[in-house]
């Protein structure tokens, strides 16, 4: 069975590579020649995969982040046992496309996981992310066993300076953070920084010890190499799980940035909130983890 999968996937990968050659570079990497050094790219009006093609192209393509032979860990939000239309988890189409880009850039292997809240096997399957990852040729890994988590420590945090972090984060060359923008009952909004709670074992500790400060502290351990904020469908209220699809608004947007604070600030704006009203964004800005003031950033705005 595995062998058959492998063969069919090799054929798929071959076809993709072949069509890329046939249709030219623009098929995947649009306008790579015109790229500038943007701090943030915002795309609107397309499907998740197509928007990502545009966004990554304007950052010079995935090859700027993933080099040949490297291992990549993609961290979507798979926290809840809900279907994709409920916007509780990252869009599976987006996850799939990201992994495809990683492989096109020459990645040796791509892993995806999340430390879910609901029962993880159900989250993985109902979110359709497990299938998306496998279809793209990536490996989906569990995140709900403490045995995966390794003790790390880092400097500069005001409330946390150590944590148990998933071994994939320690082992992988490239770390791509793929949160979904959602209303969140604990932290106001969950975006890129909040999504990092899913690579940590003991989240209760954060909740007990000034949640906002902990969220702002943690990127000091390791900032993701790229943050891709899925704002295709968002939870406008009742987050992070949502009660029904009445909580969902289709924004058809996407943000990508290497600056985790800038990504969260822009996402907060998209949601309709000022970034400085979300304590952890403000704290992270003050701690110089990234820049919250969007007016000082070079932003590429793409409307499809």
């Amino acid at each position: 069975m595995k062998r058959r999968d492998f063969i069919s996937k090799s054929v798929q990968a071959g076809l993709l590579a072949g069509s890329t050659l046939a249709f030219g570079k623009d098929f995947l990497f649009e306008k790579t020649f015109a790229q500038e050094n943007y701090d943030l790219v915002a795309v609107k009006g397309g499907e998740p995969a197509a928007m990502f093609d545009k966004a990554i192209a304007s950052l010079g393509g995935m090859k700027n982040f993933v080099r040949k032979g490297q291992t990549v860990v993609v961290k979507p939000n798979i926290g809840w046992d809900v279907s994709p239309d409920r916007a509780g988890n990252t869009n599976p189409q987006l996850v799939k496309r990201i992994i495809e880009h990683c492989f096109d850039a020459g990645a040796k292997s791509v892993y995806a996981f999340d430390h879910t809240c609901d029962d993880w096997t159900r989250c993985y399957s109902n979110s359709e992310i497990e299938k998306a990852v496998k279809d793209a040729g990536g490996k989906i890994v569990g995140g709900n066993s403490e045995s995966y988590y390794q003790e790390v420590s880092f400097k500069g945090g005001k409330k946390i300076q150590d944590a148990k972090v998933h071994e994939l984060i320690l082992q992988s060359d490239v770390f791509i953070n793929v949160p979904i923008l959602k209303h969140h009952s604990s932290s106001g909004l969950t975006i890129s920084m909040k999504n990092l709670m899913g690579i940590v074992w003991d989240r209760g500790y954060w909740h007990r010890n000034n949640l906002h400060q902990c969220i702002a502290d943690f990127p000091l351990y390791r900032k993701p190499d790229l943050n891709i904020v899925d704002a295709y469908q968002i939870l406008k209220r009742n987050g992070p799980r949502g009660v029904s699809d009445a909580d969902v608004v289709t924004l058809k947007s996407q943000l990508i940035s290497t600056d985790i604070v800038a990504a969260d600030a822009a996402a907060a704006k998209l949601f309709g909130k000022e970034p400085d009203t979300i304590p952890y964004i403000k704290i992270a800005d003050e701690m110089k983890i990234g820049k919250m003031d969007l007016s000082k950033l070079k932003i590429n705005r793409v409307i499809m």
Binding site: N126, S186, Y205, R208, K236, S244, K269
Partner: protein, 526 residues
């Protein structure tokens, strides 16, 4: 020797039943679709009996088939359908493979123990508790033994294998954390396992002929079975092979009699007899033997009834969760939470045989064996243990697998509105109150947003204007325990679920559509 093929059929059938039931209990990855559970367990006597007594569908009457089978052929149930019977055969065969002494010996009938235990079970049942039945029921004991011992062993192997494979970048297997395995929950299955092991090794099927209530009942029925095994006066040469191969110890070679009420229908005697001296005879033509049952135990029965009537009173006492450390407000629960589909604690405890199949099948492992939460007479019956996990909102697996109808099938839509209990908030324990820092883990996890966050700033003294504190709207609460599980406060939670003795209907969460026209061509807000 013509009848020797019967043993082969018996062995094949027993292995089919044994392994299909075993797989249901050890399937920690949930690979077996839940539709298979009930058909596989259809013929299990006690679950089927309780299911039918509970007034559920005639389709649940697998025990009737067992009775008919017994009326025709005797206790074939004990050697084919019963998984604990086959487990005992596996124990004794394995033991005899390595021992010189391979023979069984003839056993006394131990009638007094046998029938008084049976009477006790019946009395306890009519005094309103299943505890007698389910502590002795072979199927439930098998389930508890497998869930408590075989499954953890398998999971450990799986975890070891999965880590080894991950080192070479293969993620086909994944490690599984076993939650909440308490000492109490494994003590009773351990005692039963040791008893069964020792008894089967030493005396074959003595357990089935003294302890097991199903064995006793079917034994009584088998006295009037149509076809009974008997020793032929003419053909028997008195070699005693049958007696020494009989694991029930029910063959008396000297008198050439078979105590058919103790015969488990294994047909080993048919296979070994060199002269064809074992044959089937109709109950009408069989030699008349003196098998009178001494039912003159009125005094004893009376005492036992009084004893258990008293116990019923004890079982209603409230159970306190005793605090270990003194720090915040301790939690007292008046009622435990019974699983969705169980309707009420009474309905549940009067039908559950504590076979622990739901515990094995529960993907979130929120179902755990109880200790005294349901009272003494509900010991080992599963409850929702929110310390370890919480009930997955969309999941109805326990209701799909329950063989006794203690947890009745419930549709997902109905389950989502079934209130198992109500969340209670203890403000004095909450981080927001004690630390003035943001939390909301409870509200995050709440699937209906019965726990919501409201602005919190007493006397305008807190700098963080965005601070919020939980508020419970009980009418929307389904009692899934997500809030209790997620609450990070130690040692006492700031929110917990108080069980509903009778499950109620929760209000459907409001679904007001957000009216928002979005212009996808509009500029970004930054």
């Amino acid at each position: 020797m013509k009848l020797a093929f019967l043993k082969k059929i018996r062995v094949i059938l027993s292995l089919i039943f044994f392994f299909s039931i075993l797989f249901l209990f050890i399937d920690f990855r949930g690979l077996i679709p839940t539709e298979y559970f009930k058909p596989v367990l259809y013929l299990q006597f006690i679950p089927s009996l309780i299911n039918t007594l509970g007034g559920l569908a005639i389709a649940a009457g697998g025990f009737v088939i067992v009775i008919i089978l017994t009326l025709l052929f005797g206790r074939v149930y004990c050697s084919t359908i019963c998984p604990l019977g086959t487990l005992q055969d596996i124990f004794s065969n394995t033991y005899r493979r390595f021992k010189k002494k391979k023979y069984y010996r003839q056993l006394k009938s131990y009638k007094w123990i046998r029938y008084s235990l049976f009477a006790l079970v019946i009395i306890i049942f009519f005094s309103g508790s299943l505890i007698g039945i389910y502590l002795l029921d072979p199927f439930s004991n098998f389930g508890r033994i497998i869930s408590a011992f075989a499954k953890p062993v398998l999971v450990s192997f799986n975890n070891y294998a999965s880590f080894s494979l991950q080192k070479i970048d293969i993620y086909f297997l994944y490690p599984v954390e076993m939650k909440g395995t308490s000492l109490i929950a494994i003590t009773f299955p351990f005692i039963v396992l040791i008893t069964v092991l020792v008894m089967s090794v030493k005396t074959g099927r003595l357990f089935c002929n003294t302890v097991c209530p199903v064995g006793t009942l079917l034994g009584l029925i088998s006295k009037i079975s149509l076809l009974q095994i008997d020793i032929s006066e003419d053909k028997c040469k008195g070699c005693s092979l049958c007696e020494r191969t009989c694991k029930a110890g029910c063959i008396d070679r000297k008198n050439k009699t078979v105590d058919f009420s103790r015969c488990v229908g294994c047909y080993n005697c048919l296979t070994v007899c060199p002269s064809g001296g074992i044959e089937f005879k109709s109950c009408f033509t069989k030699k008349n033997k003196n098998n009178g049952i001494n039912l003159d135990k009125r005094e004893f029965i009376k005492k036992v009834s009084i004893y258990f009537l008293t116990l019923k009173g004890i079982s209603l006492a409230q159970v306190k969760i005793i605090p270990k450390k003194e720090s915040t407000v301790p939690i007292y629960k008046d009622y435990p939470v019974s699983p969705p589909g169980s309707k009420s604690i009474k309905h549940f405890t009067s039908r559950c045989t504590a076979c622990h199949l739901c515990i094995s099948a529960c993907p979130s492992q929120v179902l755990q064996p109880s200790f005294l939460e349901y009272g003494f007479t509900g010991m080992l019956q599963p409850l929702m243990q929110y310390k370890d996990a919480y009930c997955n909102f969309d999941c109805t697996i326990c209701s799909e697998v329950c063989p006794t109808g203690a947890i009745e099938s419930i549709l997902q839509e109905k389950k989502k509105l079934t209130q198992l209990g109500k969340a209670k908030f203890i403000k004095e324990n909450c981080i927001v109150y004690t630390e003035n820092t943001a939390c909301g883990a409870c509200s995050e996890h709440c699937p209906t947003k019965a726990v919501r966050m409201i602005s919190y700033n007493p006397q305008n003294t807190i700098a963080d204007k965005s601070l919020t504190i939980p508020e419970v709207k009980e009418e929307y609460c389904v009692g899934c325990g997500a809030c209790e599980h997620a609450c990070p406060v130690k040692p006492y939670k700031a929110i917990y679920v108080e069980g509903n003795p009778v499950h109620l209907l929760a209000k459907k969460p409001e679904e007001e559509k957000i009216e928002k026209k979005i212009d996808y061509q509009e500029d970004f807000p930054f």
